[in-house]
Symmetry: C2
Subunit: 333 residues, 2 copies
Amino acid sequence: MGEVNIAVLGAGGMVGQKVLEILEERHFPAKSLRLLATARSAGSKVSFRGENLTIEEVDAASFKGVEVAFFCASSEAARELAPQAVRDGAVVIDKSNAFRMDPRVPLAVPEVNPQAIREHDGIIASPNCSTIQLVVALYPLHQLATLRRVLVSTYQSVSGSGREAVEELRTQTVQVLAGEEPAPQAYPYRIAFNLLPHIDSFEENGYTREEMKLVRETRKILREPELAIAATAVRVPVFYAHSESVVIETERSLSSEEARRILENAPGVRVVDDPAALRYPMPEEATGRDEVLVGRIRQDLSAPRGLALWVVADNLRKGAATNAVQIAELLNE
Amino acid sequence: MGEVNIAVLGAGGMVGQKVLEILEERHFPAKSLRLLATARSAGSKVSFRGENLTIEEVDAASFKGVEVAFFCASSEAARELAPQAVRDGAVVIDKSNAFRMDPRVPLAVPEVNPQAIREHDGIIASPNCSTIQLVVALYPLHQLATLRRVLVSTYQSVSGSGREAVEELRTQTVQVLAGEEPAPQAYPYRIAFNLLPHIDSFEENGYTREEMKLVRETRKILREPELAIAATAVRVPVFYAHSESVVIETERSLSSEEARRILENAPGVRVVDDPAALRYPMPEEATGRDEVLVGRIRQDLSAPRGLALWVVADNLRKGAATNAVQIAELLNE
């Protein structure tokens, strides 16, 4: 693996910080590192490999000499800045929603479709957090038994909405316990001790964009454009890690024992599934890990070739930063 | 409606208290009221219609002269004491799991199967909280379009586990925010800022009893013993109200507009479903209400005759106390 000149755009945000942490952890061969942000967080300091680095404001010269640019910013910033970075010779690994459904842009999860990144035009998209953990868990089952239908209900943590939302859950929790009525800012309603069946904006069909991301991205990654899939996405008062209650139907029948065995040998998956010992995946346990935890694997009682699963992963790590760094590692192989 | 001599067993518990509150609210014609409990909470005082009443320890004479006995206690207590209450001439309305699946015992939700209570042998069971809100929402759709399959993922509040669990969520929340690691008691793991895909004990088939209650009770109430139905039950860090992500398939096709119209006119249902105005059901809004809130009504993208819904209700009110008091009102008509 050669040494690489890298840049991180959005280095002050939660995902940007996590990318730096994971580059360190995985000893990514960074020859140089440029930390970038839009005006808001430019100037702030960030630690990397024991050094205190300053985040620079992104400008026309920012991507000169950069080979891999991690984009951990908004879709707007990605749309504006990715073409410039690509012109300057960088490969952009973009965490935003800007290019995911662009047919020229690969949408990559290294455990599932590593081959996709071979044919890029300078931009590789990393999927939405809730999609990544879903496809890591389902792909091994799909390979063996062919998915016919997927139904997902999500339980998503506030860190998916960024640092303000994490702070808001904390503040509101204290307020509610003190008998005060919080004034919501990050979300339209209180999130402390409450649930919001609403993530991202609503589309015409009554689904939210978050739900439609799960539908569209899963189809693209699995190269199953007609896959029958639907989702309900819910924000829950949890700080870190997203959970998913998943029901699948497969073409060939699959016992829960068989599914468990396949998943035990699947890349990026950790099976946590021993009801007798009260072992099942929980956000608390998934936080800080890179594996997708899968448990509660059982026959769906309502369909002959159905299976139910409970899937939990750290949305900032495998759901965002780790997946992006894994893509960079593949690029650099 | 004649005046009735009533007793409340488990008058010190959360559901027992809520029964007293609702008897007051609905001006239930109580001629006399006897408050009963097992040794643990006997002696404590409870207020009813402005009077301070003392909870007596239940004994062999407790049900003499009682016409309707609300049982808000454990299954064990119900199994032990219901036969005595019935021998003494009372009708027992039991909130526990003891008799629900007994073929001689009606399992009643007044909006759904009021006729069931006509043929009782002294005991009428009230279903589990998560079942009640599900059947109130689904029955009107079933009548019109015939349910073929039901899939439910629940988001259940801690008040379903009683007062200790409510206290534990509060205490643990403070501890976690202070950076301390709580020692779980009411649940096997921390519930504050965490999720537990585990409610009640595990059965042989990998499902929990809570999940199987949803399956079995729904089939019994709808008189559809073969209904294809499966559930995943999850405890969430919310104090009051249970939420359910529901996907159904029906024999005859049903548009989301049609389903909304039917539910708007259904007894016990309140449709909260206007995405453009960010209106959807939430636990915060359902708490303190008797209606089952239904929203996010939309076509299931994964099946031709499928529909997705989000169903929220106060588990202590409609999910327990209100349903029991409604049964008593029907008995007294």
